[in-house]
């Protein structure tokens, strides 16, 4: 069984996203540990990409800062090896198809298995194109995470039926970044998902406040937050672990008892 499923056994899941190497890998390690200690159920580790077409300005800038600091895929693998000495919650990579393809799918995904990465999120890899990565992921027990968007409509059932690990529900049109209001009818999307799979689903894109997280998690199995965390890292730099830890605690508390 997918190890990711254990992330959804402690009530509603809180899933923070952290760009590796922003501003440096030592800070990333501290931030990941702070998030895990303060109630994060699963961590999305972003491998920066030069041209992140699904990201809004906040995460784009984190990518630029990380790459400017000299972070590479190999150095991020080393970071995960080091983190796995004590961090036991599930962790997945979020990056772009070319980062995996260019490294070699077999070599990249094989390394994920070896170092303890449980899943892979590739926002520019839709259902129809996943084949060449899916087979390799299956061979290495790495979940290739499926995404469902407000525009998916007739595609939801098809995607849900083959989903493993968890399903990433994109809350809104457009790119990542905080939003004042999420208008999408998430409940209707989740209803179709539930009819087709028992794989858990979490909502991301645009969530920053405890109230938003609680609302999104009430419809689904959890909430994913990226830009709001990256903003704290951008503001606090090398001292980001403590404020991010406090934020994760506040967000996870908002999800308890739902």
């Amino acid at each position: 069984m997918s190890k990711i499923r254990s992330a959804f056994e402690n009530q509603k899941a809180f899933i923070p996203f952290i760009t590796c190497g922003d501003p440096d890998l030592e800070t990333t390690a501290k931030v990941v540990r702070a998030a895990a200690e303060n109630g994060a159920d699963l961590i999305e580790l972003g491998i920066p990409f030069s041209d992140p077409t699904a990201e809004g300005p906040v995460i784009q800038e984190a990518n630029i800062r990380a790459l400017a600091g000299g972070v590479t895929t190999d150095r991020i693998f080393d970071l995960v090896r080091e983190l796995r000495r004590d961090v036991t919650i599930p962790m997945v990579f979020m990056t772009y198809a070319n980062v995996v393809f260019s490294y070699g799918a077999e070599r990249f995904i094989g390394t994920c298995e070896e170092i303890g990465i449980d899943g892979l999120i590739l926002p520019d890899l839709p259902f129809e194109e996943k084949g060449e990565f899916q087979d390799v992921c299956d061979a290495h027990d790495v979940d290739l995470i499926s995404m469902i968007a407000p525009t998916s409509r007739n595609r939801i059932a098809m995607i849900a039926k083959e989903a493993t690990g968890f399903i990433y529900i994109v809350s809104s049109l457009g790119v990542t970044g905080t939003r004042n209001e999420i208008k999408t009818d998430i409940a209707s999307m989740v209803k179709i998902i539930r009819e087709n799979t028992d794989t858990p689903c979490a909502v991301g894109f645009g969530i920053s406040t405890p109230e938003q997280a609680a609302k999104m998690a009430s419809y689904s199995d959890g909430a994913i937050v990226g830009s709001a965390i990256i903003k704290r890292i951008a503001a606090y730099g090398k001292d980001a672990a403590e404020p991010v830890g406090a934020y994760v605690r506040e967000m996870k508390n908002a999800l308890r008892g739902l």
Binding site: D74, Y96, N98, F101, A149, L173
Partner: protein, 396 residues
Amino acid sequence: MDNAKGRFGIYGGQYIPETLMNAGIELDEAYTHFKDDPTFQKELTALLNEYAGRPSGLYFAKKMTEDLGGAKIYLKREDLNHTGSHKINNVLGQALLAKKMGKTRLIAETGAGQHGVATATAAALLDMECVVFMGEEDTKRQALNVYRMKLLGADVVPVKTGTATLKDAVSEAMREWSSRIADTHYCLGSVMGPHPFPTIVRDFQSVISREIKAQMLEKEGRLPDAVIACVGGGSNSIGSFYHFINDPQVRLIGCEAAGRGIDTFETAATVNTGRVGIFHGMKSYFCQDEFGQIAPVYSISAGLDYPGVGPEHAWLHDTGRAEYVPITDDEAVEAFEYLSRTEGIIPAIESAHAVAYAMTAAPRADKDQIFVITISGRGDKDCAAIARYRGEDINE
């Protein structure tokens, strides 16, 4: 050569976020329907002929032929189209298609500004809203085209991210499309991006080779020995090659922007220096580092300054059907000046890359050989930049 999922060999595909998948599928279905619709084709042909000024001439460059002393040279005059380049062929097709789909707003990326100007023109003509994304660096290099777009009623959004050039304009247009799909069509300007764009743009640009073939048979009674065109994303070249792909006696030669040389980092020669990757919706060749980070590329030509190439070109390269040669900034600038002086035709700096190849190859060819060079656009927009390149500062 392309199958249902928009593959050219292993290349192409539809690598886009789930948010855009239904939009891509709807576009594919609409295009598949309208391309065989006689009314649509009749309307498009009327626009191309009455508004854009097609067919464009196939001009025998007598002085250039005599001066180079080898192959007989013809110029396919896409520079004479309305708006000054081949870009209008694709834009009129896509704008009409978008209108039939009920879209009211066009967005586009642009490098040199030619595609942006063409899109702004079509939007004005067809009463559509228009927003053009352009790298901030390019808005400086091509200030005249920025003004033209605004004059035509478009909003021009300068893109400041990354290298602030064409690649970043494409990324920003994709981001905008994913945030506003219902009323908006992304009018992509080259044979690149996710399926169905490489096929749609290829089909709309293939009018170039259809005309070359008919004009050549009329003038010479035979097919040319070589068709030469510049390649950035590759739309004027695929348009020039398409109806000759099944004529193996016709050499197809794509001229890439080598910038300061393919042995330097300041180059945009994707086929010559890149490797296979997945980016901007497609699998193709890309300039990238060992970890798959897309490389900052460079060319004097804003229209060729792109780190990828259309998937059908990648396939034509792998199969050996087309050849891809690198042309440096210096060679292109010399060709820009040469064609102006010799034939009284100022080519776009992009097109000058194709002229430069012919200047080297024609003298070595027999006199009974025939070369066709596609002059994809006119060079007025480049005059200030070329003057600067030669150390002369002029105001536009």
